[in-house]
Symmetry: C2
Subunit: 261 residues, 2 copies
């Protein structure tokens, strides 16, 4: 460790130099930012940083958006394919498993865990990779084909959580925004992805409106009315989680690719 003082001196020097260079770059970035503000439409507000935009989405501070900011397309691609998304998923699954393992269950088989399907239990990354990671408009025809193919992979961390919940004796209920007519491919896909059993799979009647909050909270209410206790509720959209009854605890799976209100 005799080299430590030398190493620290070198690091300090390098950091100082980098900070000086960074300061010059930051000044130029601010100029660019000002230009963007003057030329962009209100619907395409400049983004201070794609990381901040993503945090804003994940915390439900940014709502009612239709596509990711154009300048964040590469950022979202790198995030979804990189380590960080998987680590973010691992943290959610780990916290959920630790919480479930700490529960005192009643032994009456009435505890249920509600899962959303799309981008919670199954991943639609193959579809989104083909459509700009949320930067291109939603393509209903192509997405219906994707669902019909029943080839969506699982989110591995969520699949592992699912196994943990079953081993604890907690029942699983899927409540999905997928429509009634997509029941067969959804069952086929859940099974092929490793979700081999569940107590209930609730699909959205085609007659319902576009907001999923009343539909999903209404279905949770039916579970409670039937005597179930919703110990956990997990989804990639805040609209999966909010609206009474929320369940004893909610878990937000990361998803920077789209917004469902």
């Amino acid at each position: 460790m005799a080299l430590e003082p030398l190493r620290h001196g070198l690091v300090s020097l390098l950091v100082l130099l980098l900070l000086l260079v960074h300061a010059a770059s930051a000044a130029r970035a601010r100029d660019l930012h000002l230009e963007m503000v003057t030329t962009s439409a209100a619907t395409a507000r400049a983004v201070p940083s794609c990381a901040s935009w993503r945090l804003g989405v994940e915390t439900n501070n940014i709502r009612d958006w239709y596509s990711i900011p154009a300048e964040c397309r590469g950022y979202v691609r790198d995030y979804m394919y990189g380590d960080l998304f998987r680590q973010d998923c691992a943290v959610v699954a780990r916290e959920a498993a630790a919480y479930a393992e700490g529960l005192e269950l009643g032994g009456d088989g009435k505890e249920v865990w509600v899962f959303d399907v799309d981008d919670t239990t199954l991943s639609n990354l193959p579809y989104y990779a083909d459509t700009g990671f949320g930067a291109e408009p939603y393509n209903a025809t192509y997405f219906d084909e994707y669902v019909a193919n029943a080839t969506a992979p699982p989110l591995p961390e969520v699949l592992q959580l699912y196994e943990t919940l079953l081993s604890l004796g907690i029942k699983v209920v899927f409540i999905t925004g997928r429509h009634d007519y997509e029941k067969e491919p959804t069952i086929k896909n859940l099974r092929s992805a490793g979700y081999h059993t569940w107590d209930k799979l609730v699909l959205k009647p085609s007659s319902l409106g576009s907001s999923v909050v009343p539909y999903k909270s209404g279905e949770r209410q039916k579970l409670v009315d039937a005597g179930y206790r919703i110990v956990g509720n997990m989804g990639d959209q805040w609209s999966d989680l909010i609206g009474a009854p929320e369940g004893d605890r909610t878990f937000k799976v990361p998803d920077p690719m789209y917004y469902v209100g």
Copy 2:
């Protein structure tokens, strides 16, 4: 701009050198980390990445924690002092301002915006910088001194939002976990930080328990009962925001330094 190629070359060289130095440090950090895992209690579980831990905190997936993970002390310090925290705050304030500007106000002066105080309107970073950015145990004596000094700076982005709200005719109410006996320094500090007017400043009676959810939601209920419409509700803790009535829309200010349930 003839110096650009030279500048880029210099940056590349510096980045390369820093990466090499960082790799050596990271290897040592991993050794340390492995040691910690073998010796730590279950309450100090290993963290996949500090960025994922922070996202878990901000999305309310990680709850009931008492201090930041020891290995994330440097990460949280760099985050709080760096551009990202300020950009994260700017996104929240920008979304809140855009939302407020889009409201159709009743003209009866009954719309209010609820703000938390600590690390929402005022920053306690000076206190946390002295206590390991949340890595060291909460020091009630020192924090009381910090509050009594009334020198906390504002969060600039929130102060700007506050001015926007007032200019729109939305009233401001502060509901804080600070105690009754801290009323005078809190008023003094809010004023010196630039919060020059408000309709109500609610402080917590010393007799109340430690959870702030019943206290804060109860105070929001009193506002609603008095005929106010809570159009926005902003805080750095989820316990500032949850519990009916939440207000028409909630905004989570980033805070990776501590957890209040």
